[in-house]
């Protein structure tokens, strides 16, 4: 049986852990709110852009098997790039573990020759650093916040790679924010873009646009922005999901710390009681012995 002092010390230690998890939960909640607002504010832009692209989808085909913009170009797949968006920090439950497991399942279909990785977030980078799949680049230290300039550079790196023929298809794997209690692992094809897949709305009317100056110029202007927006959306979703996951994980930790304190307190009281009983017995026994003599 542990001594009273030992139990007391353990209670104190669990209590300080609980304070930390409690604080982290509240910080995550505040950050989640910010990330969520940001993701929501950015949504109309992404939606409109998708809508425009959907309206334009009939114009993508330039005839003779050519397309209006290289991002639509389908090729025989010799190289596949997986963009893995994880968090920079841990202590967010199974957030990263689930992503990495999904990535492993994806990579099973490829060899180290035919697949390569780009990691966004430290967790994925650290995991794959010592594994055989080549990492083309790794972007860390976002601090759970969207950074437009950096996401633009990342999008540019990807599109350049695709246009130069260094890779033939690009997928993005990330956690999508559904609700505070739910994140959803999402694997999306980033490039080449399938114009038909852009919208779920089958009835998207094919509008006969006036192109000013001409379709090629429009696509040249539109597509890099589209590629950037899609990546930014994925990253914004991932950041919101990360904070949500951390909030839930820390909430659960705070609760189990509470349970632990309760059972330790019970144990402490029991130990205290039995110590008192023992002491009483000693005193009574001593008094009786004295009375008898």
């Amino acid at each position: 049986m542990p001594s009273l002092r030992d139990i007391k010390r353990r209670i104190r230690s669990v209590k300080s852990t609980q304070q930390i998890t409690k604080a982290m939960e509240m910080v995550a909640a505040a950050k989640l709110r910010k990330a969520q607002t940001r993701a929501e504010k950015a949504r109309p832009y992404a939606d409109k852009m998708k809508q425009i692209l959907a309206n334009l989808s009939s114009s993508v085909d330039a005839g003779d098997g050519n397309v209006m913009h290289p991002y639509f170009q389908k090729r025989d797949v010799k190289k596949t790039t997986l963009v893995l968006i994880t968090s920079d920090r841990g202590l967010c439950g199974s957030f990263n573990a689930n992503l990495i497991r999904r990535a492993a399942r994806f990579l099973e279909h490829y060899s180290t020759e035919t697949a390569e990785l780009m990691t966004v977030g430290k967790r994925g980078a650290v995991w794959y650093r010592k594994r055989p799949y080549p990492i083309i680049s790794s972007h860390v230290d976002f601090g759970g916040n969207m950074d437009f300039d950096r996401s633009r550079d990342i999008a540019r790196e990807l599109t350049d790679r695709f246009e130069n023929g260094e890779t033939d298809e690009i997928y993005v794997l990330y956690q999508r924010f559904v609700s505070t209690a739910r994140q959803e692992i999402t694997l999306e094809r980033y490039l080449p873009i399938e114009p038909e897949a852009v919208t779920e709305d089958e009835s998207a009317r094919q509008i006969d646009y006036i192109f000013e100056p001409d379709p090629v110029a429009i696509f040249d202007d539109l597509m890099p922005r589209y590629a950037m927006t899609m990546l930014q959306t994925a990253m914004a979703e991932s950041f919101a999901a990360e904070h949500a996951a951390r909030m839930m994980a820390m909430g659960a930790a705070t609760r189990s710390a509470g349970d632990m304190i309760d059972s330790l307190t019970l144990e402490y009281n029991k130990a205290r009681q039995s110590a008192i009983t023992k002491e009483l017995l000693d005193i009574v026994g001593g008094a009786e012995a004295l009375a008898k003599s």
């Binding site: 109309p44 409109k48 852009m49 425009i52 646009y209 192109f211 202007d221």
Partner: protein, 136 residues
């Protein structure tokens, strides 16, 4: 006067979403005006000035736009802007700073510098300063 729906969205937020009578935007080939019932149109926008006329408002609303897209279809105009500012939101110091940096980058003309991008940011900075001078 007939009006139509205008929404201006940027990657950061929805700037405006309301009925307007006319807009004038900096299109790829110069400024162009859009009124109600315009034919479906899509065009890139350059850095420049956007003029919006709202029903029942004798003043025009002026905005600096850093580039983007205009799409018009079914009497709805959508401006996908990289960034927009009302004249009073423009930060002169920041614009001057950006212009200086862009000019340096253009002058340096090292191989790993994207001249096109530097030119665009110079354009944007000049546009901001120009609009600030004119409308405040």
């Amino acid at each position: 006067m007939a009006s139509f729906q205008l929404s201006i969205v940027t990657p950061a937020e929805t700037v405006l979403d309301e009925e307007v009578e006319s807009i004038i935007v900096p299109g790829a080939k110069g400024y162009l005006g859009v009124l109600a019932n315009h034919a479906p149109l899509i065009t890139p926008l350059q850095p420049g000035k956007m003029t919006i006329r709202k029903p029942g408002d004798s003043h025009e609303t002026i905005m600096a736009i850093a580039g983007g897209f205009l799409e018009v279809a079914n009497n709805v105009a959508t401006v996908l802007a990289d960034a927009t500012e009302y004249p009073k939101q423009i930060d002169r110091q920041r614009a001057e700073e950006a212009l200086r940096r862009a000019r340096e980058r253009i002058k340096a003309s090292e191989p790993d510098i994207d001249i096109g991008r530097a030119m665009t940011s110079a354009e944007r900075a000049k546009n901001r300063m120009h609009i600030l001078d004119q409308y405040t």
